[in-house]
Amino acid sequence: MHPALSVIAFTTATGAGYGLLVWLGLLAASGVLPASRSFALGGAGLALALITVGLLSSMLHLGRPERAWRAFSQWRSSWLSREGVASVVTYVPACLFAAGWILLERTDGAVAAAGIVAAACAAATVVTTGMIYASLKPVAQWNTPYTMPGYVIYALMSGAVLLNAILQASRTESRAVAWIAFVLIALGWFWKNMTWHHDATLSAPTTLNSATGLGGGEVRSIEWPHSEKNYLLKEMGYRIARKHALKLRMFVHVLAFGIPLAATEIAILSAGWTAGLASVIAALTLIPGLLIERWLFFAEAKHTVTLYYGGWAQ
């Protein structure tokens, strides 16, 4: 599948933003986070900024972005529509939570309630994002039980790493948050390995015999209907050289998981500026790492239509 930069930026940024919102909502409500205005501005501000920038980026993918509002109508059948509805609904408790925290400098009572509702809505939105891909039967690498939980895990992971960096940068150390980040990075790394291991065992969900109705024997494409690349090949027939995919996977191992895990461990074991620096490094390497992970999520996914062109996007 064609790795569109707008969609990669969208899913990565909203994932981190909603993940951060989940942890802010839950931990503020449980009194772990400082009630100060500056921390609220930094934390909730960053979460809402990431979500908003991500959603605006998703509009760049549309052929007719001025009609985007129509996408809220078909939530009964469409995961994309459900995502649109969930993303807008989440703004209500999220803005109430952020406004209450910033203006009242309190994280209890109504602010805590808004925080918990915002966290639930944010998590639900990430689930809908994952389901958009997980529900597509023609793309074998997406139509697996790994896709949707992956989106949730990477969102919670990037949110926790960001929150830990903000806490450490504002000199409010929290062992609990650092541990949450550490455990989620480890879980994310495990999940990515499991996913890639599973992907390696996948074959095309159908065959060219079945796709052409020509039962029996071997069917081989000997002539395409067009001489140049058409929409189908540009959008669904994206191919990535295996050697490049392996190199990029190594970047994902190192940037999205390896360095953040080691840096977060250093942050847990140390204190003061060492812990602060390590936490910021974890966040700064995690984001490009996840962007590469998301690029590969698209580039390595193969669509059944490529069978008609003589391969499963070899």
């Binding site: 052929g63 996408a71 079945s210 081989r220 067009h226 059944t304």
Partner: protein, 244 residues
């Protein structure tokens, strides 16, 4: 609404005969010609006279070779929207632009509602939908709704443009929901099949597999012709005279 109708009054679709299709592309060009001025117009072409010609087409004819133990054959394979009974392209649509008509089962796009998110094209395993980058919306086969119900056309012309154009009669149009319709009987007689039935989209269009070779057909590997043996009579005399 992108929720699917429980039932459709008719199940209009195509039956495509892979035995008689000769790959002439007449259905492809006829489809393009009609539809670039039809319901989903235009079918934009990009760089049509340049080195990277690309454009929107609803019907594409592939060519395959099928090798079996009984020999090999070339099969021309027209590929277009199958107007499925369980079209995921419709249910994934976030705006309601994609819909399946309850009256005749035809799957259509309302271009005024389409936001161009392309998700429907990802949901279709058959590659039936093509995005028009110039207009910013998704386009697809309409089964020529602007021909089949067109009272300005002669009755015999009220068929999809691809069916009207086919010089070998390899394309048939009709109601596949009616078991007694000519197309349904043809599917029964010839053992018509669904494409990718295991994907669960329940396509309406059916494909008739190539017929088995007759016993007298030329085998795959023909040896060189034997030299002519001398004959008697008049022909033998001609042979002897010419050999001199």
């Amino acid at each position: 609404m992108t929720s699917l109708p429980a039932t459709t009054d008719k199940t209009l679709g195509l039956v495509i005969d892979l035995d008689t299709c000769v790959g002439c592309q007449a259905c492809v060009t006829s489809c393009k010609e009609w539809n670039t001025g039809g319901h989903m117009a235009p079918l934009t072409d990009l760089d049509p006279y340049g080195s990277e010609a690309d454009g929107v087409w609803f019907n594409r004819v592939h060519t395959y070779e099928q090798s079996t133990e009984n020999g090999s054959r070339t099969v021309h394979f027209p590929r277009s929207c199958l107007h499925c009974d369980a079209p995921a392209c419709v249910t994934v649509c976030p705006t309601g632009a994609s819909y399946k008509r309850a009256s005749d089962g035809i799957v259509l796009v309302n271009e005024d509602l389409c936001i161009g998110c392309k998700l429907c094209s990802w949901a279709c395993p058959y590659g039936a939908r093509e995005f028009d980058v110039a207009v910013g919306v998704m386009k697809k086969c309409t089964l020529c709704i602007d021909r089949i119900y067109n009272e300005n056309l002669a009755v015999e012309d009220r068929v999809p443009a691809c069916v009207a154009a086919c010089p070998t009669g390899a394309r048939h149009f009709g109601d596949l929901g009616d078991p007694d319709s000519p197309v349904s009987r043809l599917v029964d007689e010839r053992g018509g099949v669904d494409l990718m039935p295991e994907m669960g989209y329940r396509p309406t269009n059916k494909y008739l597999p190539p017929r088995h070779r007759s016993a007298g057909a030329a085998p795959d590997h023909v040896s060189a012709l034997d030299p002519v043996t001398a004959e008697g009579g008049f022909l033998g005399w001609v042979d002897r005279m010419l050999t001199r």
